[in-house]
Amino acid sequence: MGRELRLNPGMVHVLLSLAEGSAHGYGILQDIERRSGGALRLGPSSLYYTLGRLEDAGLVAETDEPDFGEPHEDRRRYYRLTEAGRARLERELDDLARLVAAGRRLGLGSEGAR
């Protein structure tokens, strides 16, 4: 078993994308790029590498069913968030929120600044 997998920003984004519902590779890429405003771009290799590691850690899993009623294209592989993945994501976001709140109290940062 060993240590818990450390989540880098790319992983968090992937998990976030899957929290909305299961998706395939292209969809996740688009999602991340839109959400981060172009700041974070994953390539095909790094995306699947990340998915592979998340899968090894049990946070995501392959699935056959697409959500959102999209037509299922046979050759695409879809991924979904597992229970453990959801829990982990929540924990991660809570940690981040605490950090942000601490910063705000010190008067740092502003809404929507980039």
Binding site: G25, Y26, G43, P44, S45, S46, Y48, Y49
Partner: protein, 857 residues
Amino acid sequence: MSRRVLDLLLRLFPARFRERHARQVRELLDETLRREPDATRRARLLWWALLDTIRTLVRAWLDIVLGQAGSTAGLRVSLAQDAGFAMRHLRRRPLRTVTLVGTLAFALGSATAIASVTHAILIRTLPYEDPERVFSVSPPPARFTTSGPALRPDFTEMPEVERAALYFENGGGALGTNDGSPARRITVAQVSEDFFATLGVTLIMGGGLGPADDEVDRIVLSHELWRSAFGGDPRIVGQSVRLNERPLTVAGVTPPEVGFPGGTDAWLPHGAFYELYGAAFGSNVIARLRPHVPADALLARLQQAEAAQWENESDVRSVTLRPLRHELTRGLQTPLVLLAAASAMVLALACLNLAGIEFAGVTARLRELRVRTALGASRGRIARQLLTESLVLSVAGGTLGLTLAVGGIHVLQSLLPGETPGLAAAGLDLPVLVTAAVLTMGSGLLIGVLPALRAGGLTGPGTGGPTTTGSREGRRVQAGMVVAQVSLAVILAGGAGLLGGSLSRLHDQPVGYATRGVLTFEVRFPEARADDRAAYLRAVRERLLALPGVLAVGASTRLPLADGMGVGGRARPSGVEDADVSLTFIAATDGWLEAMGVARLHGSDLPPAFGTEPGVVLSRSAADSLFGVESALGRLVEYGFEGFSEPAPVVGVVDDLRLGGGDSPQHAILFTPYTYHNTFGFAVRTAENPEALVPAVRVILDEVDASLPGYAFRTTGSALASHLAARTAVARLASLFGTVALLLASLGLYGLVARGILARRRELGVRLALGASPRGLLGRTVAEGLMLGGAGVMLGLAVFLPLASRMEPLLFQVDARDPRILGPIVMLVLLVTIVATWIPARATTRIEPRDALSAEG
């Protein structure tokens, strides 16, 4: 095009990623490109995907190396685990481990020792300023003046020359201190005023020698002499010491390790001690080039000046400029480089050998490794495990090797000429330790990489079952390693053979005098007591001849292989102008030629020393060039340095001498009677062991005159052996390396064959059952081994022959590609190959088909 690069990159990923995601990556990329209408943007996307893939590739492999750890702290833990496993594994088979570690220790230790000595002699920074600008000039641009030799003004005024100095080959003197302790014999060089400045040496104390014609007699001490004879006294400057009974004032101390010319303990202004010029008036010149002036410019100018000096073109000598470092290393450069190369090859051989053993060992441990995989270890982890094992082996070997290296350095120090600057200081200093560490780690990696890859390859998914395709490739890899080992052994053995053959030819080379039964020593007579010389000689000779076993005693101004260049002069048949030839002059007492065992061809010995009777003896080629050997006796000859003397009759003709050892040319010599000279180079011929005479001789010298100690006591045989010391050392070490190489290579081949037979027991059993003859099988196995050996020989020769010319400087009368030497070496290697194959192959004759077929494959 970029697509193809991407495909290639994807293939480099670890198998797991490849299997699971490679297709997805491609499809995703295709889809992304499909949805991009703009062509330029498509191209940019593709580029970016490539970069992303490269980054991910690196990360993927890094993650494997870091293992399940995912961080360096975890890495340390798992490496420690690996090391623990490794040690356990090695401890389980102690004999094997000891052998492996021992082999590595020898290879690493000898490489380290040689690196240390090479660094100390060739690489360390010289204790002079800008030593690359200092050269020795030969022939020396000096001339004789009434006050002794001096630099030619046309030389010192050359624009390329910043400064220059004369120095004279070492003489020996007796240094006495005022505290009454016995005189110690030291080596003294006499130098001109600019000597230390030319060399680039700043004295650590004292003002130096000053101009030669100064009133006060000065002496500069070497650092080592200052420490050993004067205890490093900080107030030594200004103190008075005695050299050969004459008082001198200490005028300075040099920094450590200056030692130029080699072995000098103290420096005097030249002209101060006439009798310390040694057997020769030969002077040497060093010059310091002006900054930014190329040596070639000075060389050209010197050659011009030389040509202008002589009327006869045949008299013009060729000028050489030798860099200071070369002077200091006395021709040890090539031997040391060769030794370093040889030890590197031995190390490579040892690594290949061990790699082969470990490689084969992987198959044997397959079960253990697969269990580990089943328990969750990744292939990368397994591979790392094996790499750690070989690193543990190599670190153990390297550590033990360091201990061996210390001994090795001592051995090298005793084998190489003692006065080589820097040799005494050779040790395990930082650059050497770093080299040893690099070699150790490199060896570990070299040994472990193939087994590690194999282990990873054999323990992945889908690699189960009795017959894996890996085994055929595995055998090819092992065979390749054996071929490489054999080729290295051929190279080393070939080099050893050439050096050994060369050495034996040198030993056989006749030198013209007796190499056994002759003791030589030198005595310098002080100028002030010149009148006592005849009586001294008589007294010493009388007593020496009275010793039991002594057959003849004589003295001359030049002993073979003594320090100092020959005195050269010119001679001509009496009355014939323009027929003069240049010869080496040696003044000798009667009896010297006999004592030295020089063969007499015609006539008789020289007239008695300190007499008035004229008469000269010519060596064979001198007689030949003057009169012809047969008709020289009785003819009159005129000779001299700058002019010609009264005619003197030729009273004898003797064989030529090689005064510089077997590898030097034969000298054409004119022997003159001993009359006005101060150097007694004694030779004592004895029917018994000459070494045994030394104590008795010392007593005699002390009785006759206690202030004149003799020195340089040695036999002609030991002088020749010392002269050949460096060559002998290299040849011996080369043979050692060659033998070790052959041994390792043959063991490697043996192991390969033995394992192969074991692996193919089934197949062989089938053949035997079907009627094949055991001897046929044996023959085939030996033939296979011989093919490997042959391939190794060819590869080895292909590498050796082009490089063999580098060995030329060390070879004597032996061509670097001499088939008479290389042929037998090749035969030897092939023979060893056959034996190494035949012994394990005999096992094929003992295979019982039934057992072989029923055994597990």
